[in-house]
Amino acid sequence: MHEMSLAINIVELVSAKAQAAGGQRITSVELEAGKLSGVMVEALVFCFEAAARNTLAEGAFLEIREIEGRGNCLACGHSFIVDSLLGQCPQCDGYAVEIVQGRELKVLSLIVDEE
């Protein structure tokens, strides 16, 4: 269950940012999560709610923007959408695929109430 660690990391990061900006309460957090980042969205949402308790992020809404996985075939150069790390090139059936997108896991922004 690494989602709990991730949730704690998110809460620490956004709390520090909100505090530095003088925010009193975080109402929403926007997260970018690649589909190959190894994160289970439901578990993360659940853990975030628990991790945010008694912090500036308590009750904040976690908005998750999922990013498609994309791979480049190293054999034929074809670029295609992959839904797992086991990407197979649809053009040449090769498995030597370089994942170029989909591993992202980033806090994009947050919204704070001043009072």
Binding site: H2, S5, N9, G38, V41, E63, L110, V112, D113
Partner: protein, 251 residues
């Protein structure tokens, strides 16, 4: 159902299906909520803090030419036995130290100490993986020699440790032949993150259905650069190739 607000966001990271049934189309519509208040741009990695500490660990290792290897596997694949045999074989030739990660107990640390290497045990409690800060704190309790090997035995778990950089030079994934040869397909993240794969317990091959060639093929699908050694830590078979690989890392 979206857990946070009760709206009907499609639930698509868990898929439930029977064999032969295709993956149902995902309809992840953009999930917009009214955003009031003041917007603060962040654009920082969730694991940025871990990655920063990992980079610090890595600098520490590189400055002293310490080769740190992060050993990852399911519970029971033989990580500790491999380390015991490795320490016995290379003792006196290459300085070695170990950081042991387990949820509970000092048992593995005691085994490593008996084998003859300095060791620090990290008990993660409920935690399912080591992180860079735990390794950093462990390093403060160790005196590592220059040009040495540091083995970091991660918590037995084929999922979570893949996400957490510890500052290691390489991840070594271990699979034993008493497991399924399809593990690389089932748990691709770990095989994708590793540089080397040890297939352990090969002395048991006559008694199990494990197909080594197929396991390698599956693992190569996930990571076409993965190297393999087939070993038995119990009998010592195949260990010399692994030991030579370790010697080459030090130079």
């Amino acid at each position: 159902m979206c857990d946070s607000c009760g709206c009907s966001q499609p639930d698509n990271s868990v898929t439930i299906r029977k064999p032969g049934q295709p993956m149902s189309g995902s309809g992840s519509a953009d999930h917009h909520h009214a955003r009031k208040g003041r917007l603060i741009e962040v654009r920082e990695a969730v694991l940025g803090k871990n990655d920063g500490i990992a980079a610090h660990n890595r600098e520490f290792f590189e400055a002293r030419r310490i080769v740190a290897l992060n050993l990852v596997s399911s519970p029971g694949s033989g990580k500790t036995t491999i380390l015991e045999r490795t320490i016995l074989a290379l003792r006196g030739e290459i300085p070695m130290a170990v950081i042991e990660g387990d949820q509970q107990t000092m048992l593995d640390a005691e085994r490593i100490e008996t084998a003859g290497a300095p060791v620090v045990q990290v008990n993660t409690g409920a935690g399912c993986h080591l992180d860079a800060d735990m390794v950093h704190k462990a390093l403060h309790q160790m005196e590592l020699a220059e040009k040495s090997l540091l083995f970091i035995e991660n918590v037995g778990n084929l999922v979570c440790p893949a996400m957490f950089d510890l500052g290691e030079a390489a991840k070594v994934v271990i699979i034993s032949v008493t497991e399924g040869e399809d593990k690389p397909l089932k748990y691709p993240a770990m095989f994708a993150a590793a540089s080397l794969c040890l297939i352990n317990k090969i002395d048991l091959l006559p008694h199990v259905d494990f197909d080594v060639a197929r396991c390698r093929e599956y693992a190569l699908r996930v990571n076409h650069q993965l190297e393999f050694f087939e070993i038995s830590a119990r009998t010592g078979e195949g260990m010399s190739a692994w030991l030579d690989w370790l010697r080459r890392q030090i130079i």
